[in-house]
């Protein structure tokens, strides 16, 4: 009994924080999404699913997000996995620390500044100029989906590398020796031993990156130049520019629903991968 009391007291601050800062606002958003836009913007109470019926109006933002977020996650995974594998199994401890720091270094600078750097790199005076100079003709990179994809993969790569690195670093090299001893060539050893054992890290990295990408608005705004819209950009626009709170709320609720579905899928996947051991990395 006393123990339960202590637990409640210890959990109270966090519980209160979540209730006031998360659950309550979510309830507001849910209620708003069923309302109507006032004449001068804002919110007028009502009970209608009109806003949800109107979602296709922002279909392009949903489409961009639902394409670029998974593609960005996949690209980040394809780049991060070999890097993490090399860091964990291929280099000595001295280099490993330094390389890990290099992976994290970009975080020391604001993503805003780093995105500006990409604007210049992908802009007319940057890579396209180089390509043209080399004689491959004129290309346009900035304000395209390609630019946004480059930006998000660049920005979220470390979040993918770290969990995969952790799961691979824990991998016992003797397991790979045992696999070789039992007749599996290196590639098959990797596919049958290293890869399955690093899947929890892969799932965690994909989850982290995917969830953050779904809500991303800064990189598309800067590198997409208003041409490649994410749901995040739609929300900023609806709440701050158009002042259509009811519609904005409906978009937000839909986004939260998609993410909840993804997280549920992730947890189910983790339970299968981790077996009964419950060794879930980082989450």
């Amino acid at each position: 009994m006393q123990r339960r009391l202590a637990t409640s007291v210890l959990l109270a601050p966090a519980g209160l924080w979540f209730a006031v800062m998360l659950v309550l606002p979510l309830c507001f958003v849910l209620v708003f999404s069923l309302g109507e836009r006032g004449a001068a913007g804002g919110y007028v109470p009502a009970f209608t699913f009109e806003q949800y019926a109107n979602l296709p109006a922002r279909g392009q933002a949903f489409l961009n997000t639902l394409i670029l977020a998974p593609v960005g996650t996949l690209l980040a995974l394809l780049i991060a996995y070999p890097l993490a594998y090399h860091l964990a199994q291929g280099v000595g401890p001295k280099w490993r620390t330094m390389l890990l720091i290099l992976v994290i270094v970009p975080f020391w600078t604001s993503i805003l500044i780093r995105s500006y750097a990409w604007i210049f790199l992908l802009g007319g005076q940057g890579v396209p100029a180089l390509i043209e100079w080399m004689g491959f003709g004129a290309v346009r990179l900035i304000n395209t989906r390609f630019a946004v994809l480059t930006g998000i993969v660049y920005g979220y790569l470390p979040l993918m590398v770290l969990p995969i690195y952790v799961s691979l670093e824990r991998l016992d090299r003797r397991l790979l020796e045992a696999s070789a001893d039992l007749g599996a060539p290196p590639l098959r050893s990797f596919l049958q031993v290293a890869l399955p054992l690093s899947l929890p890290g892969v799932a965690t990295g994909c989850m982290l990156v995917f969830i953050l990408l779904m809500g991303e608005f800064l990189i598309p705004a800067m590198l997409g130049g208003g041409k490649v819209f994410f749901i995040g950009n739609a929300l900023v626009d609806l709440f701050l520019q158009s002042r259509n709170w009811a519609f904005g709320a409906a978009v937000a609720v839909t986004l939260v629903a998609i993410m909840l579905g993804t997280v549920t899928f992730y947890l189910m996947l983790m339970r299968r991968l981790g077996g009964a051991r419950g060794n879930v990395d980082l989450i």
Binding site: L175, S179, A180, D181, L182, G183, A184, R188, P196, A276
Partner: protein, 376 residues
């Protein structure tokens, strides 16, 4: 050794009846020479142990057989073929790893099936299942196939590791300190089980261990190593009775050592003089010239204790007595030789009764039982 000699098969250029061989195999890691010009033949069907302290090169030797290490120079032969450059996954040997290295994401049955699964063409599922069941039965784990690895105890995991290796019917089974993680009682059981298994399967076993008791109880031959080199190789009784030097006598069984200088040699017998000027006789255990520093080695069970003085007996006082059941272990002190360990069998004490600490006694041994050995 008898049971091997009957079934010799020729296996080509590396010698008759050899399943594997090292020829001047050297392995360097930077400045460290882990294996120094190893030359050794492994006889088909034998149980060979590499014995020595950590860092003596025994594990490197095993890993060169498995293919995890490539010799810096020299050659390794498997079944008549030079295999120094053959990767582990193409060698017909399997290993039981020190900490088992079982795959945590696979079940017991999947672990055991792993090696069969790698074969090309891949055997039929039913055939794999049959062989896995047979291997499980062999290590007395029938019915444990669907379990996860972490649901198994240490002793059971050890057996899974064993089954995972033998199911492939390797030409040599390599065992890297396989029993080190088990408790004493379980270790004893597994020793007997390994011996039985080896006899039943007829596979050559190569064991690496630092535990002399383990090596002595299971092996047909023991290869004693130090500093990357082979010090002596022979049957357990051979090493025990005829060690080539002090290192071997010290590593195999217990012994009392008395340092001195060899004064005279006549035939198989010699005479040494200790630092205190005491002269002691013994059998020559190795080729040593008079004047060299030598060690006299006397096994504890070769020393007798008596209450009455006899010719040639040395006066001692009993320091400690440990009753071990079938034996009693005494620590006795000699004025010049220092402390000696004496092992007296139960029946020898039945009449006269034991000695109490503080009692005086006379220690004697047959000169044949004292070995004069080179110091290194």
């Amino acid at each position: 050794m008898q049971r091997i000699t009957g079934s010799f098969e020729t296996s080509g250029r590396d010698g008759e009846g050899l399943i594997a061989a090292f020829r001047a195999a050297t392995k360097r890691f930077g400045d460290v020479v882990a294996a120094d010009a190893l030359t050794l033949g492994i006889v088909r069907g034998e149980f060979l142990s590499f014995l020595g302290p950590s860092g003596c090169g025994k594990t490197t030797a095993l890993r060169m057989l498995a293919g995890f290490e490539t010799p810096t120079s020299g050659e390794v032969f498997l079944d008549g073929e030079e295999v120094s450059a053959v990767p582990p996954y193409r060698r017909p040997v399997n290993m039981v790893f020190q900490h088992y290295a079982l795959f945590p994401h696979l079940t017991v049955a999947q672990n055991i099936a792993y090696g069969l699964w790698q074969r090309r063409p891949r055997p039929e599922r039913a055939e794999i299942a049959r062989q896995v069941d047979r291997a499980l039965a062999m290590v007395r784990l029938s019915g444990f196939g669907p379990r996860r690895i972490w649901e198994m105890s240490g002793g059971q995991q050890q057996r899974v590791a064993l089954a995972r290796a033998i199911v492939n019917e390797p030409k040599i089974l390599l065992l890297d300190e396989p029993l080190a993680a088990l408790d004493r009682k379980l270790r004893r059981e597994m020793q007997i089980e390994l011996q039985t298994l080896q006899r039943e399967l007829g596979i050559t076993f190569v064991l690496v261990t630092h535990d002399q008791e383990e090596a002595l109880s299971m092996s047909d031959r023991i290869c004693i190593m130090r500093g990357g080199r082979i010090v002596q190789i022979g049957a357990p009784a051979d090493l025990y009775d005829r060690p080539h030097n002090r290192y071997v006598a010290d590593f195999v069984g217990k012994s009392n050592f008395v340092d001195g200088v060899l004064r005279e040699v006549s035939g198989a017998l010699g005479r040494i003089e200790t630092a205190q000027g005491l002269g002691l006789g013994g059998r020559m255990g190795g080729p040593v010239a008079p004047g060299a520093r030598v060690t006299l080695s006397i096994r504890p069970e070769q020393i007798g204790l008596a209450r009455a003085a006899q010719p040639g007996a040395e006066p001692v006082s009993v320091v400690n007595r440990i009753f071990l059941g079938e034996h009693t272990e005494y620590l006795v002190r000699h004025a010049q030789l220092g402390d000696l360990l004496v092992l007296v069998p139960r029946q020898a004490e039945a009449g006269a009764g034991g000695f109490a600490p503080g009692e005086s006694a006379f220690a004697s041994w047959h000169p044949d039982a004292a070995l004069i050995l080179p110091q290194d």
